[in-house]
Structure formats: C-alpha cells, structure tokens
Homo-oligomer: 403 residues x 2
C-alpha cells in the first residue's frame, strides 16, 4: 500500500530494466529496446547514454543489417569490464568463477571436496585463493560489482548464515561474512541455497525462460528445490522456502539425515538409488554422479536390479512431483543435478505416478524437463544473485565499486 | 522488465492505495494517510477530493480529538453507498451477502444445501434470488461495483470455469458466466476457490494481517488450502495453486475422492475423523460441522474412541503441516473451517509431528493459529475479490457502474 514511485525511482527502475535486457538477452538494438520496454526513443537514448557513461554498456554498429537506411545502434553489455565472482559450495566440489555482465564465464577454478563434516576454513580457504588468482589476471580497468555463493544448505536470509546442511554437517555457519572478510574486496558476499539459485538460473537463462511458475528439483547427495512463483523465487519467511526434499512422502520409509522418516530426499536421493541397485559401498568410495550414471547405464543395458532400483526411485520421485504439482500448479517441473539422470532413467514411472496422483487439470498442462544448464546451474544462479544489486540500481553500484 | 509507470498510472495506483487504506483500515485521518503513504499533504488532499467526487469516500470531522488546534479531517469509505455482492458456494450451504466498501456485511441470505452432485440451476437459482431480494432493498443512490463467488472446487483462472470439485460432483461447470447472466447486473462474476479466498480474507482482515507468508488450511468435507507468498495469493499457472488437500501423505492410506490414496484430505477430512470415531453414518445423516464438534466434545469429556480418532487425524494433519512448513517456510499456518475444531482437539499431536518432521529453523518461528473469521472467511474473501477491481482502478470502475 505504498504510494507510487518518484521520478528518481522511475529512472532507476528504467536503467535497471534496460541493463537487465542486455544482460539476459545479449546485444540488443535501440529499436528493439524501444519496442520491448514500451518507452520512447529519446528515453531509451538517454538511459543508454547514462549506462554507457557508467561503463556498463557500449553502443556499436551492428555487424550487418538486411535493411536499407541507417541501422539502429546495438547496445551491448560491457562483459569484459564489469564482472562478479560466483562461488559454488557443493557436496563434492568447490567452484569459483569470474562472470562478466551478460553472463559469460570468463575464468573458473574448481576443486574436488571430500564429503563429510568440514571446517569453515576448508571451504573459504580454497575459494579465496581461487578468487585471488583470477583477480590477479584482470585488467586494471575492470570492476567487480558483486560476489555471491550457492551453498548446499539452508541459508537464513536475514544474516546469510547457513542454518542447516544435513549433508555437510554444518550448523549456523557464518559463511558469507567469513568469505567476504577473506576475499578482502570490500564487497559483501550474498549467499543462497544452491537449489534455489539453480532454479533462478533455469528460470532466467535455462529451460524455464518465459515460464512464470516453475518447480526445480535438484539432486546432489540430498534433494533440494527451488520454486518460482509468478516469476519470483519463493523465499518464505526466513529464506528457507523450497526445501521440498524434506517433504515426507513415505511416513514408514527410509531414515533421512534430518531425523525424519521417508522424506523425498531419503527415497530418491543418491544413497536410496545406490542401495536399491546393490551398489552402495559402505566405504563411501563409489558415490557421486558417476555412480548414479552407472546405474542408469546398467539399466539401459538390461540390468534387472538397476532397472528395479530406478523404477522404485522413479515411483517416489513421481509421487513427489505429483504433490508439488497439486500444491503449486506449475507450468514446468525441472530435474537438475543427479535427478536429471534419475528422471531420464525413470520417466515412465514418474509419469505414471503423476497420472494417478496429480489432479487432471493440473497435470494436463504440466511439462517435465531436464536442466538446460546442467552442473553449472548453481554457479550461474550464484552469478545472477551477485548481479542482482547492479541490476536493481546500476549507477549506485558502479559508483561504489569505482570508489 | 517493463518500463516504469506513467503519471496516469501513478495517479491510478495512488487512488487505489488510498482507497485500500480506508477500505481495510477503516476511517483514517488525512494526517495519518500522509504519513503512512509517504506522500505530501497536497497530494493526499487531491486524491481524497477525486475519490470524494466519485462517491467512494467522504471526509468529516473526527468525533473527538485529544489535541488542540484544527483536527485533521477523517477519510471514511462510503460503505452505505458502494457495495459488492459476495457469494459462497459451500458443500453444505449457499450464502449471498451485500458487502459495503470497508468490508461491512450489510445484508445476507443463507440456504442449506443437500450434499452430492448438483445441477448448475440448484446453485445459481437460489443465489440469484437472494441477490434480487437484497438488491430490491437498496436505496437508489447505491452502486454495485463488483460480484464474486467462493466455490468449493478448482477454478480455472482463464475462464472462471470450475474444473474439478470432487466433493460436489462438478466438472467443467461455467458457474461464473451463468451466475452473471442470471444476476443481470451487467457485471461479470469473478470466481475463486473457496480456500484460496479464505486465505486472502485471513491475510487482509483476519489472523494473518501483516503476515507476508502464510499457509491456510480449510476443512470442509475435503481439505483445501490457500497460500500467501510474499504478500500475494499463490495462483499457479492456471489458478489451481494451493490444492494441498491432494498432497499424498500416506501412500498406502485411505482412498480419496480424487482417485488417489492417502491424500491429506483422505486422512484428515471429515469422513476420516468420523469413521475413526465410529460415528460415520453410512446414510450421510450425521455429517457436517456439528458432527465434527461432537467428536471434539466427546474427546474433551474423556471418550477414549474420540480421543484416539483425534489423535490419529492430528498426527496426519501435523505431517501435512510439517511438509508445508518445509516447502513454504511460512510465518503462520492457519486452520479454518472444520480443521479449526480438529486442530483445537489435537494440537499436541500436530505439534509433536512438527517437532519430528519440520526442519528446526523452519519450525522455530512458525506460529499455528485458528481462523479469526470463522465460517465467514470464504464469504469475506469473495467480497475482497469483488472489490479488487474498484481498488485497482477506483474511478474507472465507478464510472462504468454509474453509466
């Protein structure tokens, strides 16, 4: 019930909207921006001039035009000059990347992680080292406008602290604060749940572009989720929204790391699949994405045990999807992380459950898809989180970064 | 990524915001509106003058002020002049009410319904008759600005058609269109799912005021739901969002009207409770809210069978709430309809399940509450839906209604 925006707010909004256009859509002609944004040509010119002066975009002649007459200038994001650091703290790996405006991954470093409880230092140390290495390679005229991390755990929106992460042994870890201190860039580190950020990534740059209601399911060791409701990521009261992996689907089922029984994660997670396929090695040596792929490949080759394992897991996955379809009435459900492989290996079971358990008008229009960004979805989502500030207020952020 | 609003859009937004203030908050002084809306005094004066000229509000001296000096004029909604018709199609009843701007129920009519499949005429006929009776009693200077109905079923947002309603035997019923035709007021009839609208009502005028993330569970014969996500009702792709009653919680459980097994509705709905309490009469005579209350009363008086029934149902209800808490991370869960009684009779079981199955940081801040609007929640929600147009564009709607 706030009053309408001031002229200054409108200008800020328009600058952000134009920058977002070229950030997500790539180089765009002034004429196209004029028609897409519903503003007149002189306003677009003025906005572009402001963004150009700030070094966020540049204008140039298009390579070629099929038309006669003076071609419309193309507005292009300054990808080489303006960048963010995107970090990804997964169960099995640590990734740091330098991502240019427009979403180009310019540079990246990755390290394998040992599973199990960890000290903050074991995560922060390598990531800070990666960032320093990449920072040293940048030209002097480049500017870092944000840092964000995807974390495999529940992140409190209030203070960026990781409140839970059953698969990483982490409780109340002040990851963002410590990461910012160690980077020493004078920038805060925004932290988001990895599945939430992957959902955002698929929505803005992946299979869910243009889709306003989307449920993304992310399989790592556990199962996370991110939900886009009417174009916006569901956060909930504290930012823990979308923990669909801890929806109980089988109350007499397998124990879950969270202490409950029969959570979706317990029934369709990596361990559930590997155990059902008789491939769970107590030593923990044979785990991860490769182990999951091996089950799907074996089933493809006719291995009956692997087929039964996928069928069982696919049945629970389908039940979970049906529940989420009834709850959210999404346009699309996206399977990411190792659930991509699981879904591809058990699509028939998933669809069969959906036919039984989802309300007919809800399932009729529902599209099931696999992640388009693959293993980079979490990293791309972190980059988008890092760019959020500059897109909300382009000039302010750049003035601060330049000072 | 649209451009910022025009001056005309800002004025419309501000008119709507001011009207919404007095519609939801009641008579408010100009001074208070100035500070709450963050606009200057002259803008508030101009907006109030427009709304007064349109007959939507009037200004008057406050009854008394504790202060010296000229008191600030109070802006009051024209509740006696501007009204909507709110309709409620429940499983056991039909209600029509004339509701004044500001939310006052001025007049109402109610009829008992027989359960089971129905013809469109059996619903539309009585409601149209009620509306005519109430319309005849209005003064000539009154104006109807909207009509909306809460319907116990899944309503397609696209065309207002009721696509499913397992408890009413309805499939693809063009209720809104037929209702509008029969009313003959020249106004469309907006139709919403009853639990969705009750959630909206509790959010705007009930126990959930000020709460941006809320899950509302509605017990009728079945179980419906409405979810407020960041201040807005979750609709989903087609408007079927919030069908939490068809979340499967017990995959080997009781059959549900939807064809599935162990839906929340099947485990905690009226029939589940009455059967568990040995009080389900196959003839269908002993059903409804009174039958549910009788079980809770019996348990209070020490009836062991009734206590066990409530305990069983409360356990499933708690599991459902835990799942929804993990999925939505809401600030509040509200129990309405007959689930109000069920929750009051089984709060210990619900909380115990929550302690086991909801993630600790999610449950720590979660408040469980019962509906503040009681049986009127659906009707109040329908009234708010009917007022939505006039609040979005006060002058346009009034000009149309007056023509």
């Amino acid at each position: 019930m706030r009053a309408g925006p001031s002229q200054e707010e409108i200008r800020r909004h328009n600058l952000g909207a134009l920058l977002r256009h070229v950030h997500l859509g790539g180089p765009t002609s002034r004429a196209e921006l004029t028609s897409r944004m519903g503003l007149n040509r002189s306003t677009i010119m003025a906005l572009t001039a402001d963004l150009t002066a700030a070094g966020l975009v540049r204008e140039e002649l298009p390579r070629e035009t099929g038309r006669a007459g003076r071609p419309s200038l193309v507005v292009r994001p300054e990808s080489a000059r303006v960048y963010v650091f995107a970090l990804d703290v997964g169960v099995d790996r640590l990734v740091a990347a330098r991502v240019g405006l427009g979403g180009t991954i310019i540079d990246r470093r990755e390290a394998v992680r040992r599973r199990g409880p960890f000290s903050l230092e074991e995560v922060v140390g390598p990531l800070a080292a990666f960032a320093r290495q990449m920072h040293r390679k940048t030209r002097p005229d480049t500017v870092c406008v944000g840092v964000a991390a995807a974390f495999s755990g529940g992140v409190d929106r209030g203070d960026g602290v990781v409140r839970f992460g059953p698969n990483m042994g982490s409780v109340d870890v002040p990851f963002g604060e410590e990461m910012a201190r160690r980077l020493g860039l004078g920038l805060p580190v925004a932290v988001g749940n990895d599945a939430n950020l992957a959902a955002l990534a698929e929505h803005t740059r992946g299979v869910g572009v243009g889709c306003r209601d989307l449920v993304y399911l992310h399989g790592d060791v556990g199962v996370g989720g991110g939900v886009i409701v009417n174009g916006t990521l569901l956060g909930g009261h504290q930012g823990f929204g979308g923990e669909v992996g801890h929806m109980v689907v089988n109350p007499k089922g397998r124990s879950c790391g969270c202490g409950s029984l029969g959570c979706l994660e317990a029934e369709v997670g990596e361990r559930a699949l590997l155990e059902a396929a008789g491939r769970f090695d107590g030593s923990g040596a044979l785990v991860g994405r490769d182990a999951v792929r091996a089950v799907v490949d074996a089933a493809d080759r006719g291995d009956i045990v692997a087929q039964a394992a996928l069928s069982r897991v696919g049945d629970w996955l389908g039940l979970g999807v049906a529940n989420l379809a009834n709850i959210f009435n999404p346009e699309m459900v996206v399977f990411g992380g190792m659930l991509r492989e699981v879904y591809l290996g058990s699509a028939a079971q998933v669809r069969s459950r959906l036919a039984t358990d989802a309300l007919p008008p809800v399932r009729e229009h529902l599209r099931l898809r696999t992640s388009a960004l693959g293993d980079d979805a979490t990293l791309v989502g972190a980059a988008e989180l890092a760019f959020a500030q500059v897109l909300a207020d382009p000039l302010e952020v750049l003035a601060r970064a330049g000072s």
